[in-house]
């Protein structure tokens, strides 16, 4: 392999590679992301490749295993070009039919097409799918064009052109100024202006500086960083190179959690390939700039996503945050100036340099620019990774992209920003995706998790779930977070188990304020958000739990009872057979009765009953 010594060589290589790829008559893109791999996409890829070899089509058809396409619940996903044909839920046994019918004869296999759950019609092409239509994909668009294990793929779509442009004649000040003008803000949760961070690090004295990529994504239900690093690691590396050039760093680290084995693997392969081409190492592209990246695996602590804890972990110490009275841009990793950015932030940088800050700032709201990747999960019809321009309303995301409620119950709330975020009720769905607007409403952008909840969700129970998570994941260093969150959980458990007292609600509120003001790191400061936001918007549910000892959503087991409606019950006996605790009694053709002493409230009878005769309340 020849090392690229000049930006002209890179362009020449790009043209050669693009031609090579243009020679194929058709292209099959199969998603090989973690989500699709779980639904056997690797077997599909193998079967398709085998079938193509069997039919002597290797020179005509390019089979590409790519990263995540975002629509994970439909996996394995296959897109066939030309024609943009979209097949979902493909199994290895379909390979022969796909090759002989679709590829050779151009016929569409109806069975594999996507059915829109809202309208119920079959959709042929990817662009027509409502889930994709309402999105604005800038970062994710490259996922389906690039095989993450092939640097050639990335170069062929114009990769590393941005660092070539930078090294060919943009000085660090201009790069920083461009990033600052673009209005890019940290995508990891804090929303700190990236340009300001870089300026401070650039101004900090010292020859030794570091850039760090934070890929320690731990929010339940969020996976945009994993997806980006898995699907397009070179984009992140290129972003880090530009950042390193701007602030004057010569070494970088990508800190990935070890629960993301595919992301670790792809990042490692990408770094090795970039080194082989001379894109990492000494004198990159013939310039004076030298830079290299190491991959560090995290042990899976949620708190290590916090910048100072991450740096402590990188240094080999216990991953605990330290006070940030001196910023990490001045004294970070090994007490040297360090720029730490999230995966998505780094991935945005090459586009800003290539297309200019004005292009980037043309999208978004006044204070938040560009696009944001969100992980849409929960009780919606379409779940997956969604990229929208900043300023898009929550309503568009939940109803247009997500397709509305999956269960038939009305949508009640959406939880944004992971465990440290808050729950926003339907009344707030006109809020835009914007750092400040969400924070003002008592939630936060966070890393971009978005969990949709319907009327069957108890908000007190949701707050309890997140507190439980945070109590487990708190590092335990400072008192408000370790003891305070634990006490909040204790109070909320009391409330959900029917021991709640009215004065406990005000105590909970006061305690939440103490934790959010008094904690050491941002993790503790945002830990009470689930409680504060549910108290703010769903206060009546707390009151119902405490004063009436009733759970309106029928979730909290201590506060509900199952009874059989004597008129609706047909006496079929299904519930008697289904009950694992033998709590249902009754004769055939006569109304059954649940013995409340033996009932463990598992809810199996409710799902089994065909006559809706079992009442919860």
């Amino acid at each position: 392999m020849v090392k690229i010594k000049h930006s002209g060589d890179l362009e020449a290589l790009r043209i050669t590679l693009e031609d090579e790829r243009g020679n194929y008559r058709s292209k099959i893109t199969i998603c090989g992301g973690t989500g699709c791999q779980a639904s056997r996409s690797l077997a599909v890829i193998e079967a398709v490749k085998k079938e193509i070899t069997r039919q002597y089509l290797e020179k005509d058809v390019l089979v590409r295993s790519t990263g995540c396409h975002g629509f994970c619940e439909q996996g394995p996903i296959m897109v066939i070009e030309p024609g943009n044909l979209f097949y979902c839920h493909v199994v290895p046994e379909d390979a022969r039919e796909i090759v002989s019918k679709t590829l050779l004869k151009g016929e569409v296999i109806e069975r594999l097409l996507y059915t829109d759950p809202v309208s119920g019609r079959k959709i042929r092409t990817e662009v027509e799918i409502p889930f994709y239509q309402a999105q604005d994909r800038q970062l994710l668009a490259y996922n389906k064009l690039v095989d993450p294990c092939l640097i050639e793929d990335y170069i062929s779509v114009g990769g590393y052109a941005s660092i070539a442009k930078t090294l060919a004649g943009i000085d660090p000040e201009t790069v920083i100024e461009e990033v600052r003008a673009s209005g890019l803000r940290g995508r990891g949760g804090g929303g700190f202006p990236t340009g300001t961070k870089w300026t401070e690090c650039w101004e900090a004295p010292g020859d030794e500086k570091y850039v760090v990529c934070n890929a320690d994504e731990g929010d339940p239900g969020a996976y945009m960083d994993r997806c980006l690093l898995e699907a397009n690691p070179h984009l992140v590396i290129e972003g880090m190179m530009i950042g390193a050039w701007a602030v004057g760093a010569d070494h970088g680290y990508i800190y990935v959690r070890k629960e993301y084995p595919l992301a670790v693997k792809h990042a490692r392969i990408a770094v090795q390939q970039a080194r082989k081409y001379g894109l990492l190492g000494n004198n990159i592209l013939g310039s004076s700039f030298s830079f290299d990246i190491d991959i560090a695996r995290g042990g899976g602590a949620f708190v290590c996503g916090e910048s100072t804890a991450l740096m402590a972990s990188l240094e080999g110490k216990v991953g605990e945050p330290r006070p940030k009275d001196i910023h990490t841009v001045k004294s970070g990793l090994w007490d040297k100036p360090t720029v730490l950015n999230n995966v998505e932030t780094w991935a945005n940088v090459p586009f800003i340099i290539l297309n200019g800050s004005r292009w980037f700032a043309s999208k978004g709201t006044k204070s938040s620019k560009g696009t944001k990747i969100l992980a849409l999960t929960g009780q919606v019809k379409n779940t997956g990774l969604v990229e929208v321009a900043m300023g898009t309303s929550l309503r568009t995301i939940v109803f247009d992209i997500g397709g509305g409620s999956k269960t038939g119950n009305a949508v009640k709330a959406v939880q944004t920003g992971g465990p440290s975020g808050g729950c926003l009720p339907v009344g707030k769905f006109d809020l835009p995706i914007d750092f400040d607007a969400l924070t003002k409403a008592g939630s936060m952008m966070g890393s971009g998790g978005m969990v949709v909840m319907d009327e069957g969700t108890c908000m007190v129970d949701v707050a309890k779930y997140f507190l439980n998570f945070l109590q487990d994941e708190s590092c335990g260093k400072c008192v408000p977070c370790r003891i305070g969150v634990d006490r909040m959980l204790e109070i909320i458990t009391d409330i959900t188990e029917g021991r709640g007292r009215p004065e406990q609600i005000s105590l909970l509120e006061e305690l939440a304020e103490t934790v959010s003001e008094g904690s050491l790191c941002a993790l503790g400061k945002t830990a009470p958000n689930p409680v504060l936001s549910t108290l703010r918007y769903f206060y009546d549910e707390y009151i119902a739990h405490v004063e009436k000892k009733r759970c309106p959503a029928g979730v909290c087991k201590s506060l509900i009872n199952y009874t059989i409606h004597p008129e609706k019950c047909e006496g079929c006996g299904i519930c008697i057979r289904a009950c694992p605790h033998n709590a249902v009694r009754g004769e055939k053709k006569k109304a059954h009765v649940i013995n409340l002493l033996e009932c463990r409230k598992c809810g199996i009878c409710v799902t089994e009953c065909k006559f809706d005769a079992i009442m919860v309340g």
Partner: protein
């Protein structure tokens, strides 16, 4: 040569050596900011959060621990605003509910204005201030103690769970442990924990001077009493 900076703590102009923390500067001038995990010879971690102060900067104030905040020229610190006092009281309440069996913590709770404890007592025998761990690792450089686990499971322990050879039984860890000072009436049994509040009468002397140190052996704060 020592360099000095001038700052304002609770309205009084204070001169402090460059590089010291706000807490040290305040203590030097007799402005007593409650604290627990701070030990003069050791580095500060900001774990107990009792020494929180309001740092007024560019018109907005930020809550931060004074032990980790270094003095800067012209900085304005308020250690006794309503907000800080309330926060500190709540933090002290959490601590005394967690570990009532220590005169030091009972004393801190009373000094921070805790009148009653609204949480069920837990009677743990460690508050995880980390004084022992830091004394062992930083002062003696023995590393015979450390924190193990995270969150609720975090506790002080020997590495690998058993006493290593390099622990010389010097006893510094017990000497610096706030839990080793038992309450005046002797240790409380499980189920009998309460907020002691005996030294509250001495506290009343300081009404009107909320920032001043109470003139009793206990009221001087944990660190003062132990170091004397």
């Amino acid at each position: 040569m020592l360099q000095y900076v001038t700052l304002t703590i609770d309205g009084s102009r204070v001169r402090a050596t460059k590089g010291t923390s706000v807490l040290d500067a305040a203590i030097e001038y007799g402005i007593c900011i409650p604290h627990l995990c701070h030990v003069p010879v050791l580095s500060d971690t900001g774990a107990c959060r009792l020494c929180i102060v309001e740092h007024v900067k560019n018109g907005s104030s930020k809550i931060t621990t004074s032990c980790t905040l270094n003095v800067q020229e012209g900085m304005i610190i308020n250690s006794n605003t309503e907000k800080v006092v309330k926060l500190r009281r709540n933090i002290a309440e959490l601590m005394v509910a967690e570990a009532p069996n220590s005169r030091a913590i009972q004393d801190i709770a009373v000094r921070c204005g805790v009148k009653d404890v609204r949480y069920p007592f837990r009677n743990n025998n460690c508050i995880q201030c980390g004084r022992c761990v830091r004394y062992c690792t930083q002062f003696w450089r023995a590393n015979a103690l450390g924190f193990v686990g995270r969150g609720k499971e975090r506790h002080v322990d020997y590495p690998l769970g058993s006493r290593p050879d390099f622990c010389k039984n010097c006893g510094s860890c017990t000497l610096y442990c706030p839990m080793s000072v038992t309450p005046c009436d002797g240790p409380m049994k499980r189920g009998e924990e309460r907020l002691c509040g005996k030294c509250e009468s001495q506290l009343s002397m300081s009404v009107g001077f909320p920032g001043a140190c109470v003139k009793c052996e206990l009221g001087k704060g944990f660190q003062c009493a132990r170091q004397a």
